[in-house]
């Protein structure tokens, strides 16, 4: 290792030798860096999971559609509605070939003694399969049977195994909103942060469950465009057809990005994650600074000797950066491992979509190196105390 580092650095790896000379301190330092990494990964994981769970419902829709939402609605699951009239108005646009309303409502499912789950319902016309993800086409058609539902296998707080065999021919009964429904199939969506699960029902079944809702006021409207139509332009033109500030209209993918951005930057949860990441970074910098400045203080006579020998400032910066990078590059891996374990346990326990991504791992690795280098630069100030004239 020493030989390799000597080649790499063009000098003896003083930083490496100093760190490995005190294995106890090195281990403590690595544990600290790993801990800070876990903090950051947890926050980023939760944030990523929230973004992912915001995005998942949009993936039920065909991606090349436009979504027409009430003006005040930033989030897909907001309670606001818009007049179905908007759908008919949109059909005058030459690029719009069709549209379908979707109805959304939330309900509490008392699935057992103590267990209750918050369920997001999508009420969908069973013949509107063209607007939804191809995989949903067949199950959606079966929803035309009254009081049937596609239930979410990832629903929290419920043992969903009894629903696994649900078929149109063999519905699995359950009760919700004091109504008897039959599960005739399953989807895997997951409730994410806003709820515990997502159930799909026909529009008719939806009105049975939510009698106060009317077919005249859907939550959103999906519009299909002619092949080759420019979605962005069509959206801009359609908006002109409506009184100002009554609708928001954008391609599905854009609406999804918009909501992710909104949830991450304007909602408290998103901000809490950003704050958590900042705390993790600060903790990491403080820990690395403690270790590096203690190491400088311990070697002050050696550094003074090197100064007397004629080593320039760059040499000392090099040693401290070498130490910082070693701490970062080694401490990262246990941090990554623990974070991976944390993600897996959390995903298992809560069904939120939390998982490691390569981009995140790379970004945190680079961030760790930078944070440790910043600590090193701060620790460098202690070096001024190395006064070679005092050695005699």
């Amino acid at each position: 290792m020493t030989t390799f580092l000597t080649r790499l650095l063009g000098r003896l790896p003083i930083g490496y030798l100093q760190l490995t000379h005190h294995p106890g301190r090195l281990l403590a330092a690595l544990a600290g860096v790993a801990f800070a990494n876990v903090l950051v990964f947890v926050q980023l994981g939760l944030a990523g999971s929230m973004a992912e769970s915001v995005a998942i419902p949009y993936r039920l829709f065909q991606p090349d559609l436009l979504i027409l939402s009430p003006a005040e609605s930033e989030a897909l699951s907001d309670a606001a509605t818009l007049p179905r009239q908007r759908l008919f108005q949109a059909l005058v646009h030459p690029d719009v070939t069709g549209g379908t309303p979707i109805y959304m409502g939330r309900s509490t499912w008392i699935s057992g003694h103590d267990a209750s789950s918050s369920i997001q319902f999508f009420g969908i016309a069973p013949d509107a399969t063209a607007f939804f993800h191809d995989a949903l086409a067949a199950p959606l058609t079966s929803l035309s049977l009254s009081d049937t539902a596609l239930v979410d296998t990832l629903t929290r707080f419920v043992d969903m195994r009894s629903f696994a065999a649900a078929q149109p021919e063999a519905p699995v009964p359950f009760e919700i909103q004091s109504r008897q429904l039959g599960a005739i199939g399953t989807v895997s969506i997951g409730g994410g942060f806003g709820g515990d699960g997502v159930f799909l029902v026909s529009d008719q079944t939806f009105f049975h469950l939510f009698p106060q809702r009317s077919s005249a006021t859907p939550s959103h409207i999906l519009l299909a465009l002619a092949p080759g139509a420019d979605a962005g332009r069509a959206a801009a033109e359609l908006v002109q057809l409506y009184p100002p500030d009554t609708v928001r209209i954008r391609p599905v993918s854009e609406a999804m990005e918009q909501e992710v951005r909104y949830q991450m930057t304007e909602r408290p949860t998103g901000l809490i994650f950003a704050f958590g990441v900042a705390i993790g970074i600060v903790v990491g910098i403080v820990i690395a600074y403690q270790v590096l400045s203690a190491d400088v203080a311990d070697h002050i006579r050696e550094y003074a000797t090197f100064k007397a020998m004629g080593f320039r400032q760059g040499f000392f910066i090099g040693i401290i950066l070498e130490e910082a990078i070693i701490l970062a590059a080694i401490g990262f891996w246990p941090g990554l491992l623990f974070s991976q374990l944390f993600y897996e346990s959390l995903a298992y326990l809560t069904n939120i979509p939390i998982f490691m991504t390569t981009e995140r791992a790379v970004a945190v690795f680079i961030g760790t190196i930078i944070a440790c280098a910043v600590s090193g630069m701060l620790a460098m100030r202690k070096l001024a105390a190395a006064e070679p004239a005092d050695l005699f």
């Binding site: 030989t3 000597t6 080649r7 063009g10 000098r11 003896l12 003083i14 030798l17 100093q18 490995t20 000379h21 070697h299 006579r301 050696e302 003074a304 000797t305 090197f306 100064k307 007397a308 020998m309 004629g310 080593f311 320039r312 070679p388 004239a389 050695l391 005699f392």
Partner: protein
């Protein structure tokens, strides 16, 4: 090229400010010949170390002049002094070895100050010198596993390995037994004869006075005696 490696003229030095200001050196004049071995003597507090650190570019010269290897140190830049130090070898009373580096690695640092070199050649030069100082068996030892005298010899090797023009040493033999102390000073003398290395050394050790070319005695910051021996 003049014959003087060091030329000190009218050197004054003060420590502290205001009320606490104290003069440590008064009008010191001293010209040290290239290749010679000069010993600085004097009672405690007489200014020997102060003079050594000024000549060794470890302190700023405030009053008077020091020409070191043809370079004026009065009003010199910090970077100039750092670069000048690379041509000097320091041997401190405390060995000041780096505890995380082996004997060989400590000596190699004396070469690496001059920049990236061939690691094999650096190691060979270090090994040769350590061997000469009787440490051939201790190359891979960390300072913690060496005796006081062995550590001091490693420090001597570190100062000598890059062939300095001048060696500054403050009580270098204090930690050494009689034989290795004499051997070390003999080595400085030989380097003076063969390579023109100049040595300025503070010592109280009467055993080595005989090896000196010149003995300068300081008292209360002034040179009171200057014996050039022939």
């Amino acid at each position: 090229m003049t014959d003087a490696a060091i030329d000190v003229r009218g050197l004054d030095h003060f420590f502290g400010e205001g009320e606490a200001r104290k003069q440590a050196l008064f009008d010191v004049n001293l010209s040290v010949r290239r290749g010679s071995l000069t010993i600085l003597m004097g009672p405690s507090g007489s200014g020997k170390t102060t003079l050594l650190t000024l000549m060794g570019c470890l302190r700023e010269v405030h009053g008077g002049s020091i020409r070191l290897l043809e370079r004026e140190l009065f009003q010199s830049e910090e970077v100039t002094r750092i670069d000048m130090r690379r041509r000097l070898g320091f041997i401190f009373q405390a060995h000041n070895l780096h505890a995380s580096l082996t004997a060989r690695q400590n000596v190699i640092m004396g070469l690496q100050v001059h920049g990236r070199g061939v690691p094999k050649r650096h190691a060979a030069a270090a090994d040769h010198l350590l061997d000469m100082l009787g440490l051939g068996e201790r190359l891979e030892y960390l300072p913690g596993n060496l005796s006081g005298g062995q550590k001091q010899r490693v420090a001597i090797a570190r100062a000598l390995v890059s062939n300095p023009d001048i060696i500054f040493a403050d009580e270098p033999t204090a930690a050494l037994d009689k034989i290795s102390g004499m051997a070390a000073v003999q080595l400085f003398r030989d380097l003076g004869r063969t390579r023109g290395t100049t040595t300025v050394m503070v010592t109280h050790d009467p055993r080595i006075l005989d090896l000196a070319d010149r003995i300068v005695t300081l008292e209360d910051g002034r040179i009171v005696q200057d014996n050039v021996r022939t």
